[in-house]
Symmetry: C2
Subunit: 198 residues, 2 copies
Amino acid sequence: MRQFVVIGHDAPTTAEFSLDDLAGGAGRLDVLCRCVTSAFALSHDIREDVRVHLVLGDEYTITFEGKNLRRLNPDERSTAALIRGALAERGEAIGHQPAESSPGVSITRRGFEPTLADAGRDGTVVQLHEDGDPVVDVPVPSDPVFVLSDHRDFAEREAGLLADRADERVRLGPERLHADHAITVAHNYLDTRGFERY
Amino acid sequence: MRQFVVIGHDAPTTAEFSLDDLAGGAGRLDVLCRCVTSAFALSHDIREDVRVHLVLGDEYTITFEGKNLRRLNPDERSTAALIRGALAERGEAIGHQPAESSPGVSITRRGFEPTLADAGRDGTVVQLHEDGDPVVDVPVPSDPVFVLSDHRDFAEREAGLLADRADERVRLGPERLHADHAITVAHNYLDTRGFERY
């Protein structure tokens, strides 16, 4: 299982946003939509052994579960519609109980800390960081939990939590990538285990 | 210089499409938009030494020139607006003369064959193919020209042209990736030259 936790600092926490303005009126929901696509989409296939958690405003977490996921298309707008559908169910998410809004998509009322604790329980938490160790030098964990931020840096509190929890701090390359591109590169590193460079 | 030629089989060739329906009424323009973002976008920066050619319906080619590019945002919709702006100028593209529609974005009236010939003149044409050599085994060319297709396979004629022109046939990993994800992975391989695995 590969997991990705993506913090949306500038994301809606209600369903009242327009699909026509994802990079404006909806904060920067476009970034989070592309992260979901990068995490799941293969050419004419879905990565089933993946789970993505989008943390919205440290208030709600929307979880996409690959093995149950239906109706995911690669474009931003249709993914945003799934997110909006989950936010419309936020009233049903009571305590830490998730509410499922469509197959494989659910919402819980919780922020970064409990989401990270839960995701990290069964995996190795990997912080992607420009000062981290080159990914090629790090033994590849079997159940990695990658933690990323949207277009903003991690807030101080988030960075502190992550530093406490992270088992590895890894750098994917010399360039600073968008979160969705980092997910694509991380997948490729994991996919090519067994290629002879390893 | 890194170049990417992306063939859009299911893309508009006029400016009469809605930005609200990129993955439907506009064919699959969403794929091409994500390819442009993957090719240029770094976190809070643009890759200047990149050129992208989108071949639309084998009739027009829209070229994005990194060093001149302005107003490129990472979301699909704003990139689609740049493409629509270029298509609106298609009447000005006479012979092989390009018409510039916004800084760094121009359109020419030509299809895949002349675009590939032109792009390949100064570089090494790399075909991304599932039966290609693992990318780690191939000497990294200094001026690669990667040729990709949108969500459809290459048509027979395109595949034939490409097989004739390609200097290398390369595989990025065991999974079949979307074109935009392949661009991201290709960039990472080039970026990490000098990392100690090479």
